[in-house]
Each structure stands twice: as structure tokens, then as C-alpha cells.
């Protein structure tokens, strides 16, 4: 008997951590108990994207979206929905301020505004079954590329589509492919860069986890276009699930003869091996990555020559990011006209972002290029939780910059690439490669960290610089010494020992590191510092001159006191702060106001955390 219901249980890393596999097992057991195992099919899928409300499950064909499931919910769910046909409201998603739950996934604002190309199969296929991918037109683009198109036509299609590298730099993919095709040297190589290292970014990981065959098919089409014989998928070892799924997918493709010799009787020979990275951030840089694949230390080298001429083992190498490869099959299948309609004039198609930080709907989203930050953060992200004010958004990870919300209602000047000044509101800034570069940030691989009023921008700059400083390989002096110097200055400022001269020094060193570093890591490392200095200079000055951290994040600059009225009237001098203070710096009797001895206080902030009555005031 055919199944009448498919339960698409999310088994992305986020939901698995929240025990979605236990929910799946409970569901299986309950369905068997009710004799429904032949009517209801359970499918484990890759990341659905709405990680904030996981573990989640979509019931098809009705498209009912269930969220925050636990094994305890399963018996009721099966009884009501699958036996009696009554979807369970209690387990549906209700947006804040909405009067009632939204049953259908397609009606939920988080999903409604998205456009899926790279993630077209997410939640619809079991990533460990090649048949599921084939059912969704999988490998049909390969057939088209092998039977109806010459290599030049494939490259032309990708070029005209306007696809640009999704790893962050935005180099036109077709141009790169042509260079590798025309380069001398055999054999040619293809590399899939899955060394996603930005804190808070999980785009590539999710593509591997939810639809690994789309990457393989993209690489196969690339192999046909440039004449490559071998491919390498470079993936971080910290991504066990992604690693497992791409390995399974490669194995299945081999079994079906979609990898190997004479693929689909076309004469194309191509195979893929997997190299695991040890998690060094610099290995995301292409020359360092190639060194790592060759078994050497992951150090970058000066370019030119670019990998297109001399890459892996000194041979012409085409290296693209995971998301770029996943975009290739739909372009070939649907044509460049279709693809180039989506997006802006210079940035075509869609971009996958991991939306994290102080935003309600954290998760993985794919949106058309040109969408504004406001739409992304408010319409899809659901805004800032807890009535806090939106302060800034950080794009591009440690290499990117912070774009402020402070100028939200006040249009500001910026220089357009054609040199004309144009007034534009930052939040309404369209997301494309150029716009983000113009405001001092970058597209990056797609990490988007939203910050609210409780975020200290100096501390953010320090955090990202500490990351890049730690990950700097040390091969070139500007990056090795420059990031260290800048980190020292930033640390000093957050501790209240900064001077105004430090700001000038930060800018100077920042520009030098940007201009003179060997590779992309150093060239972009100062961005978080330079953008926060530009847009949040007053916060730096408050740290230096007033010795205050406006967001109360830099603890050394805070002073703590207890409001005596709140302490007695609401808390009746409960004394929990006195008991918890590790420095024994708090004094007081029951029913009496407590006070903090500032000479003993080490500013750890425990009193703030433990007080139930918000009587501890941070200044």
C-alpha cells in the first residue's frame, strides 16, 4: 500500500542536538503500536532552516509544521493527527503577537519570504538516499550537460547567469571556469571548499547535511565544463554529520556509475575524494587549502599564480565554495535567463545566510540577492527578542564588518561605485556584494550576527580580532604582528586603560594590515575594528574618556550598587546576593537594605544574575 502521509523529521545538526532522533524513534514505535506503519512514512531530512524552534517536523501532503517536539508529545500527535485527522494546535508554531498558531509551513513568515535554489531540496529529501534526489530532478542537469551542451556552452551558461562565488569574494564563477579550461596542464582538478570557519556560520554544513548530491552534481558539471578528471571535497572534521552524508552520497553515486569512468556512457571520467580539514581558519583561503590537501602545513602563498593556472599539485585547479556548486545544477537545468532574473543587477540569484545572535527566528535562510537587511531581520528573522533595541548586524564573520542600525531613520551618505553620492538608509541596504563592501563589510560566506543594545561594539571588535589573531598562520608580518598589536590595544580599551591616541593607532595599523597582508585572512581581519570605529566611535570614546561601557559588557568598567528601596520593598533583604558573592563584598541583614563594598568588589556580576528583584544596578 502507498503511504498517505510523509513525516519529514528534521535531522540537521541543530534538531539532532535537541533530540529529534529520539522523537523519530518514538514516532516509529507509536505508529507501529497503532498499526499505521504502512500508512505513515517517516523520513529524516537535512536542516529545515528554522532551527530556533526545533526539533521540528513537517507532515505532508498537508504541509503541517510541528515544532519543539518531545517524545512525550508523540502519542497525542499520532492519536489526533494520524488516527483522527485532527492536526494538533498545541504543537504548531505561533509567532509572537499572533492570535493563533499557523498550521501550514508555507504560511509561516519565516518561510514565506525565502526563495530556495541552493537549498531547493531541503526538508524534501532524505539526504542519505540518492533515489530521493533523483526524484527531484537530480542528475538531470548532468544529463543535459553531457548530451546537449558543449563544455563552452556550459561555461557560457554559467557566465551569463551571473553566478558569483558564494564563499564571500564574489568572483564570477564562469570566468574562473573559463580560465581553468584554457589553462595548460593535465590533469585538471576541481575542489569543493567546505572549510566553513566563520563563528556562527553553518551554510555549507547544512547543504552537505541536507542535499549532498547537489554538490556532487555541480562538481560533475564543472568537471565536464573545464575538463577535470579528479575532484576533492575539503570539509572540516568538526562537521561529523556533514562528512558522513557526503561520504555516503559519493559512495552511492559511485555505485550507480555517476562517479567513475565513462559516466552515463558519455565518455566523462571523474571521481571525488574527501579530505578532512583539521579546523584551521586559514585553510578556507584557497592557496592554504590546496597546501593542506597536498599534505603540507596549511599556509597560504602569494598569488599570482592563481590556482586556475597552478593549483593542486601545480596543475590547473578550479576551486569553488559548497554553495556555489549547489547552485550549478538548477542553472543548467533552467537556463541562465531564469537565474539572472533573480537578484540585483550585479549580484544574481540567491544567498544562503545563517541568521544568528539577538534575533527571534535564528536559523538558515535563503533569500534573493538585493533583499534589505530590514526584511531579513524583521520579516524573516522576526525582529529582536525581549523588547530590546536593534543595534547592528555583523556580516561576513571575522572578515566582515558591523553595519549600524543607529542611522536607521537618518539617511546617510555613501559612495556608490560609479562615484555618485547617494543617500541610503543602512537597514534598507540591499544585500549584494557591492553594497556590503561599500559600507566596509562584506558578503562573506553568509554569517549574519544580529546585535541588540546589550552588545558592546568594542567588545565585538575585540572578540573577532581575538579570533583572527589566534587563527593567523604567522607567515607574513603585517597579519602576525598587526593583529596582535590591535588586539592588545582593544583589550586595553575594554579594561579602561585606553587613550585617544589608541584610536588613531588602531586605524593606522588596520589600514596597513589590510593593504599589506599576504592573504585574505589578514586583508580582511581589521574590518570589524575599522567599521565599529567608523560607526560606533562614541562607544570607544565612552570606554576611554568616561571609563564606561555603555552596554555594560566590559565588566572592568562597570560599578555595581544595590537599590536600597527595591532591595527591601520587593526583596525584603533576601540576602541571596550576600550568600553568592565570591568576594564576600556584600553586607546586610534580613529585611534591611544590602550594600556592596566597592573596594572588595571584583565586578564579577554574580549579584546581578542571582537577584530575583532586579535590585542590583549596573552603571
Amino acid at each position: 500500500m502507498p503511504y498517505r502521509v510523509h513525516c519529514m523529521v528534521c535531522a540537521g545538526t541543530g534538531c539532532v542536538s535537541n533530540r529529534s532522533l529520539d522523537v523519530r524513534d518514538a514516532l516509529e514505535k507509536e505508529l507501529r503500536k497503532r498499526g499505521l506503519e504502512h500508512e505513515v512514512q517517516i523520513v529524516t531530512t537535512g536542516c529545515n532552516g528554522f532551527c530556533a524552534v526545533g526539533p521540528l517536523m513537517v507532515v505532508q501532503p498537508d504541509g503541517i509544521f510541528y515544532q519543539q517536539l518531545t517524545t512525550k508529545d508523540v502519542p497525542q500527535l499520532v492519536e489526533e493527527h494520524f488516527v483522527k485527522g485532527r492536526p494538533v494546535q498545541r504543537l504548531m508554531y505561533t509567532p509572537p503577537e499572533a492570535p493563533a498558531p499557523i498550521p501550514k509551513m508555507s504560511d509561516i513568515p519565516f518561510f514565506k519570504h525565502q526563495r530556495l535554489i541552493a537549498l531547493r531540496n531541503r526538508g524534501l529529501v532524505d539526504p542519505e538516499k540518492i533515489e530521493d534526489y533523483i526524484a527531484r530532478d537530480g542528475y538531470q542537469a548532468l544529463v543535459k550537460a553531457l548530451t546537449q551542451m558543449t563544455p563552452d556552452e556550459i561555461i557560457e551558461e554559467i557566465t551569463r547567469a551571473g553566478l558569483r562565488g558564494r564563499g564571500g569574494a564574489g568572483f564570477p564563477t564562469g570566468v574562473k571556469w573559463r580560465k581553468v579550461r584554457e589553462a595548460r596542464g593535465e590533469p585538471k582538478y576541481i575542489i569543493c571548499n567546505g572549510d566553513e570557519g566563520d563563528p556562527g556560520a553553518f551554510m555549507d554544513r547544512s547543504i552537505f547535511e541536507s542535499d549532498p548530491h547537489s554538490v556532487i552534481e555541480g562538481m560533475l558539471i564543472g568537471a565536464r565544463a573545464i575538463g577535470a578528471r579528479y575532484g576533492v571535497v575539503y570539509i572540516r572534521n568538526e562537521y561529523p554529520l556533514a562528512l558522513e552524508r557526503i561520504q555516503i552520497a559519493i559512495q552511492q553515486a559511485r555505485e550507480y556509475g555517476l562517479l567513475g569512468e565513462n559516466i552515463l556512457d558519455s565518455g566523462l571520467d571523474f571521481d571525488i575524494s574527501v579530505t578532512r580539514g583539521a579546523g584551521a581558519f586559514v585553510c578556507g583561503e584557497e592557496t592554504a587549502l590546496i597546501a593542506s590537501v597536498e599534505g603540507r602545513l596549511g599556509d597560504p602563498r602569494a598569488r599570482p599564480p592563481y590556482p586556475a593556472e597552478s593549483g593542486l599539485w601545480g596543475k590547473p585547479t578550479c576551486i569553488n565554495n559548497v554553495e556555489t556548486w549547489a547552485n550549478v545544477p538548477p542553472i543548467i537545468l533552467n537556463g541562465w535567463e531564469w537565474y539572472s532574473q533573480i537578484g540585483t543587477e550585479r549580484s544574481k540569484g540567491t544567498k544562503v545566510f545563517s541568521l544568528v545572535g539577538k534575533v527571534r527566528n535564528t536559523g538558515l535562510v535563503e533569500v534573493p540577492m538585493g533583499i534589505t537587511l530590514r526584511q531579513l531581520i524583521y520579516d524573516i528573522g522576526g525582529g529582536i527578542p525581549g523588547d530590546k533595541k536593534f543595534k547592528a548586524v555583523q556580516t561576513g564573520g571575522p572578515s566582515g564588518g558591523c553595519i549600524p542600525a543607529g542611522m536607521m531613520d537618518q539617511p546617510i551618505e555613501y559612495v556608490a561605485p560609479d562615484g555618485k553620492h547617494e543617500a541610503r538608509d543602512y537597514l534598507d541596504l540591499p544585500i549584494d556584494y557591492e553594497s556590503l563592501t561599500e559600507v566596509g563589510s562584506m558578503m562573506g560566506s553568509g554569517g549574519l550576527v544580529v546585535m541588540d543594545e546589550d552588545t558592546c561594539m568594542v567588545d565585538v571588535a575585540r572578540f573577532f580580532l581575538a579570533f583572527t589573531q589566534d587563527e593567523s598562520c604567522g607567515a607574513c608580518a603585517p597579519c602576525r604582528e598587526g593583529t596582535k598589536l590591535m588586539l592588545d590595544i582593544l583589550t586595553r580599551i575594554t579594561q579602561g586603560h585606553g587613550t585617544m591616541d589608541d584610536l588613531r593607532a588602531l586605524e593606522e595599523i588596520g589600514w596597513v594590515v589590510k593593504q599589506t597582508s599576504l592573504c585574505g585572512l589578514g586583508k580582511t581581519a581589521p574590518n570589524p575594528v575599522l567599521t565599529t570605529l567608523k560607526y560606533f566611535r562614541d562607544e570607544y570614546i565612552a570606554h576611554i574618556e568616561a571609563h564606561k561601557c555603555p552596554a555594560h559588557v566590559c565588566r572592568e568598567l562597570n560599578t555595581y550598587r544595590i537599590d536600597p528601596v527595591i532591595c527591601v520593598e520587593r526583596g525584603h533583604g533576601c540576602g541571596v546576593c550576600r550568600r553568592e558573592c565570591p568576594e564576600k563584598a556584600i553586607f546586610g541583614e534580613k529585611n534591611q537594605p544590602h550594600r556592596i563594598d566597592t573596594t572588595k568588589c571584583k565586578k564579577c556580576g554574580v549579584c546581578v544574575d542571582v537577584c530575583h528583584f532586579n535590585a542590583v544596578i549596573v552603571e
Binding site: 498517505r4 510523509h6 501532503p61 498537508d62 533515489e131 550507480y256 555517476l258
Partner: protein, 127 residues
Amino acid sequence: MPKLKIEDLARMREEARRATMLREGAGRVKIIVHLGTCGIAAGGRNIMAAVLREIEERNLHDVLVTTSGCAGLCSREPMMTVEVLGQAPVKYVDLTEGKVKEIFAEHVMGGKIAERYALAVGSERAM
């Protein structure tokens, strides 16, 4: 596993598509079997099984089957609603497995309402 040829890939796609089309939520016909307490007590589960059997025997892949609760006419259960895309839904009452077979032949396949078993065409107005 034998190596695939292009024709094999196309065949595999058709087969796999049949099994997964349901996930896209699109179909030519939607059948709702009423499985409230009354429906189940009157034998609705057998009707559900009969519907699924018909789909299997006829090798259909554009028919979606879902369930719903009590439709408010408990005395005429088991009931099911057949909704051909773009047409008004039809409620069938007092069903037996034999009637399901006939309804499939006439309405689902033939597009002609099996009027002798139909209660009404259309649904109540909600809100």
C-alpha cells in the same frame, strides 16, 4: 549495482517521484476520509484501507489521501470527501469497501460524480 545509463536514470526518476510526490503537496484529486470517533466506530479505517488499496492497484500517484475529524453527520458514517482539483468537493456517505471501488472507477478516474452515494456537492461555509 549495475552502472546507470541515461534511460535508467529517467526510469528511476519516475519511480522515485511516484513515492515522493506526496511531499510536494500537489495532486489531481484529494480524498478526505472522515475519521472522527463516529467514523472509526462505523468502520472508517477499513474505508481508509480500501482507498489506499485502490490507489495501489491502479498505480495512481496524483491522488492525496488525508483524514479529518467528525463532519457532523455521524449517522451516515463512514464518509469520505472527494475533491477533484478545481471542482467542488463531494461528500459520500454510508460507505462500504465495494462503494469505494465504484466511486474510484466513476469519480476519481472517470470524473463523473457517483450520485447514488453522494450526500451533497460542496461544503459548509466556514466563518
